[in-house]
Symmetry: C2
Subunit: 566 residues, 2 copies
């Protein structure tokens, strides 16, 4: 479409003019003057009569043909289909348009209007077309059948032909009557729509791949069936054409679930008197570790992108906000090209003042995660089912009362199961836990405790960040914890050191010059209550809950060292 | 504090040892050998007797003095005050600690425990100290009175002395009994706490300014009263010491209100089937206008920080998510040093598919803002009241049914009121509206319609971005709108052009090479439904609702061209 001016809905109905003004039949042979012989005359008269009849017949046939053609060309359905003008908000009639997910018995026999994508089409002979219309995770069968009579809802041959030429993914506006039906090829299996009007609202260009191919489960590619034919859409192709990829029912469900995770996260924390904060991502100094921080040209100077809201949320606690959370982007300039690393992801961070014990924080984080898991399981069964079709996996198990294992106990379980370190030696109880051993422990815990979600508490102090509060009794341990889903860490947290003198000492021990983090220390010099918290990666939670296998599948427009678009 | 090992609560009680073991009195002068004269002897005996008595008296006095001192030194209250050891989560007793905001009649006569800041202190002679304890926006009066008897809740002279030396802002742990009272100097006016235990939980260093000074209304500085003495805390000083500044009741309230704005924003949109998205802030190309975009070093290349989620949310619509919102940071590399510009702020963005008319979007945005205003007014009256003490202003007016003015109508009102352009000429109805005239219009509208909130609709196409959908009838107008609060624009939005061919033409008209935005165009080539949306600046809404006068006051840790910390 090249002009923003409104166009007629009937614009495509070009064949409908030319109603035949049939010529008047050539009538009578008329009188003939004297001349030729009688027999000649007779012969001539006979021929003339023959010619006259032939002409008559020809004229009649021509007339019949024209009438037939005219009748065929005349399209009583022309008001029922076609291309809509560019939508410029021409009018507002308060037309009610339904969503497929709302369909119920009450709609049976009712005329409905909806906007949808044309998902696919199967012509059945010349008089019938089956269409599948798609709205997000739902598809509804449409039946377009040639009308026997002329009425205002007539479906003509031309309309059938028009429908068959609509490319899939076109956005259509449909009017029809809902009928009870048994449908196998759509997600809505108990209704179909008898299509009476079908307009093209938005046209599409060339498609990079089909939605059906993009939504195919991996298992399909492993079936050795010579009769199966389809394309596999590689992840980079999907991500290059992410807008198209996002339309698969799987992705529609994944990002509804991602949105729900944030919803339950906030809902729980709001109920616990947390407030939401928004901390700046532009930082004057590189915090924690300078190596993995992105540099920004900031007018005539340099800024850095925050690796986490750690500092800001601790300052908010020193600023007396008591309990805060933040949902926001987190940036990591690590050149890691793995299935679980991105350069930008969504951090769900919380920090809270402690009254007596850091287990108040662990309790809060645990209750918050349980609220998320329960919410997803109870209110998002449809989305989970849709996603499982493409990414089948065992159900995510969690207990009523979450398992909490001391770190040493976890190491003991691993050792007894024969786990070794990267060099093949038996692991010590104070070693760092490798990613491999974390996964191994996840399997051991699932087997023994029937849960995919548990907490490791009391990590060795030596393997935690400098600001981690040591255990009050055993100085080699710390008041810190990790939370695991399916054997992968999703949350790391601790009670923080709130005493500036002690904090500076701990910095020195790990080779950080306290003066390089004076802003951080200054916040504690003004007096911060004892506090703790933790951070979750949103995409990681979604990936692990659904077992998507690659973090990019849980990110709307993922960013990694090699990808900055779309 | 230099060591993380637990210390005794009585550590400060250094004077309490040394209970006097009084020496036995020197008794008897004993026998004397023969020698001197009788009178001499008599004299000597007299003197000896005198000396003996003097010694006895001295000893008795000494004994009394020591006993008195010992009694005074003995501190039966030593278990009731002192410095707590570093909080390392030593124990968890499930101690219930109250929040001042929970205090009610039911607490009268009850013993309570709470953690608070020492807000200030007023000694009244040697036997009484008034303390004010602070929790966020609330202060509670504490009374520390010397006990007459010894009991377990005794308050000793030493305890009184200890209390008087605690610096303000120290975090204290207090135990006491709630009493009914009439209090003028605290926000809680009907209760006070009779303090029985008072421990220092977290000490503070030197303070940059006092909370009282930081919370003082501007009007105080305008009072010409020679007896008044206090310091004015300049905004840069506040921002340099933001952690301290954030503790004022005003700031405690401002950021609770800011959090509430996001809460109502999401609550309303969730109820309308929106989903929350998180779009990447790292972009491969500079969008919209390259001049005001921050550059990021991205491994061996360059990335840019997103100026808005405009492109991403439109792609989400093309990706069939129908209705999306995002709350996230927005970056503007503009060297503007004004009261209303920051280089990073929080964008509240929405985008939605349109069925019939872009006024569906206007309706949604309007209902969402009304939900925010009503929520703040109905459920955050306390916070608003606290803020008004420092920043007094007229109540924010809004109507049950929001005023919607056509742009031309707004210009007409301005013209009739004598508004001129920057050169003093009368304004034309299709001119751009200057910031000054926006404010003027806000005053005119408030006067005429009694509202601080209204919508201008149908802006001239020429003054809107290239992707704005033209009006279907008048090609010089557009399907676009701005929302205003107190005469300042808080939301700008429009129906967007969803047709790629038309979009490319509009780009060319404003001098943008369509190939430079091929990623943007590609999304529409795959077919996007008609859609529209808008973006709000969170800090701006908060600033204008509360009339804070400077956007930095509505930002936790503001960023501008000259400020990157804390």
């Amino acid at each position: 479409m090249s002009e923003p001016v409104p166009q007629q809905a009937q614009a495509f109905n070009t064949a409908a003019e030319a109603a035949a003004a049939a010529p008047a039949p050539a009538e009578g042979a008329a009188d003939v003057a004297a001349g030729p012989s009688k027999s000649e005359l007779k012969k001539r008269a006979k021929e003339a009569e023959k010619a006259r009849k032939a002409a008559e017949r020809a004229a009649r046939e021509e007339e019949e043909k024209r009438a037939r053609e005219a009748k065929e060309a005349e399209d009583h359905a022309k008001q029922n289909y076609g291309k809509l003008p560019l939508h410029q908000s021409q009018e507002r009639n308060g037309q009610v348009r339904i969503k497929f997910e709302e369909l119920s018995e009450a709609h049976v026999g009712q005329r409905v209007i909806f906007r949808a994508r044309l998902h696919n089409m199967r012509p059945q002979g010349a008089k019938l077309v089956f269409l599948a219309f798609r709205q997000q995770t739902h598809t509804l069968q449409g039946v377009l059948a040639l009308s026997k009579e002329n009425d205002e809802h007539q479906v003509s041959k031309q309309m059938l032909k028009y429908a068959q030429l609509i490319p899939t993914e076109t956005i259509v506006l449909v009017e029809g009557v809902i009928k009870s039906a048994e449908v196998k090829s759509c997600t809505i299996t108990n209704y179909e729509v008898g299509v009476q009007k079908l307009f093209t609202a938005v046209e599409v260009g060339a498609l990079p791949f089909s939605i059906d191919d993009a939504a195919r489960p991996e298992a399909d590619f492993e079936r050795r069936d010579e009769n199966l034919q389809f394309s596999r859409v590689a992840l980079p192709t999907r991500l290059d054409n992410r807008v198209m990829d996002l339309r698969t029912p799987t992705n529609q469900a994944i990002f509804r679930l991602q949105s729900a995770v944030c919803h339950y996260f906030r809902n729980y924390l709001d109920s616990q008197n947390f407030i939401e904060i928004h901390s700046p991502k532009l930082q004057g100094a590189a915090t924690e570790s300078g190596a993995s921080v992105f540099k920004v040209s900031y007018f005539n100077g340099t800024a850095f992108l925050a690796q986490s809201p750690q500092l800001a949320k601790q300052m908010a606690i020193a600023g007396d906000f008591e309990r805060v959370y933040e949902i926001g982007p987190v940036f990591r300039a690590e050149d890691s090209n793995t299935h679980r690393h991105m350069t930008e992801f969504t951090g769900l961070d919380i920090e809270m003042a402690i009254e007596e014990h850091y287990h108040e924080v662990v309790d809060t984080l645990d209750s918050m995660l349980l609220a998320i898991f329960r919410g997803l399981k109870e209110k998002h069964a449809h989305e989970i089912e849709v996603i499982r079709k493409q990414f089948p996996c065992e159900e995510f198990l969690f207990l009523e009362k979450t398992l909490r294992l001391p770190f040493k106990e976890g190491m003991k379980m691993l050792r007894e199961a024969g786990a070794t370190d990267s060099e093949g030696n038996p692991i010590g109880e104070m070693d760092d836990m490798s990613t491999e051993n974390e996964k191994f422990l996840g399997r051991l815990v699932r087997e023994k405790y029937k849960t995919d979600y548990f907490i490791l508490d009391k990590f060795p102090l030596a393997i935690r960040p400098f600001y981690t509060m040591p255990d009050p009794v055993d100085p080699t341990l710390s008041n810190s914890y990790d939370f695991f889903m399916r054997g992968e860490e999703i949350l790391s947290g601790a009670q923080r050191i709130h005493d500036p003198t002690f904090l500076a000492e701990q910095m020195k021990k790990v080779g950080i010059d306290p003066s390089s983090m004076s802003g951080y220390l200054d916040a504690f010099k003004l007096g911060a209550p004892p506090h703790g918290g933790g951070g979750i990666g949103l995409e990681r939670v979604v990936m692990l809950f659904l077992k998507l296998g690659n973090i990019r599948r849980a990110s709307l427009f993922p960013r990694d060292p090699k990808r900055l678009s779309p």
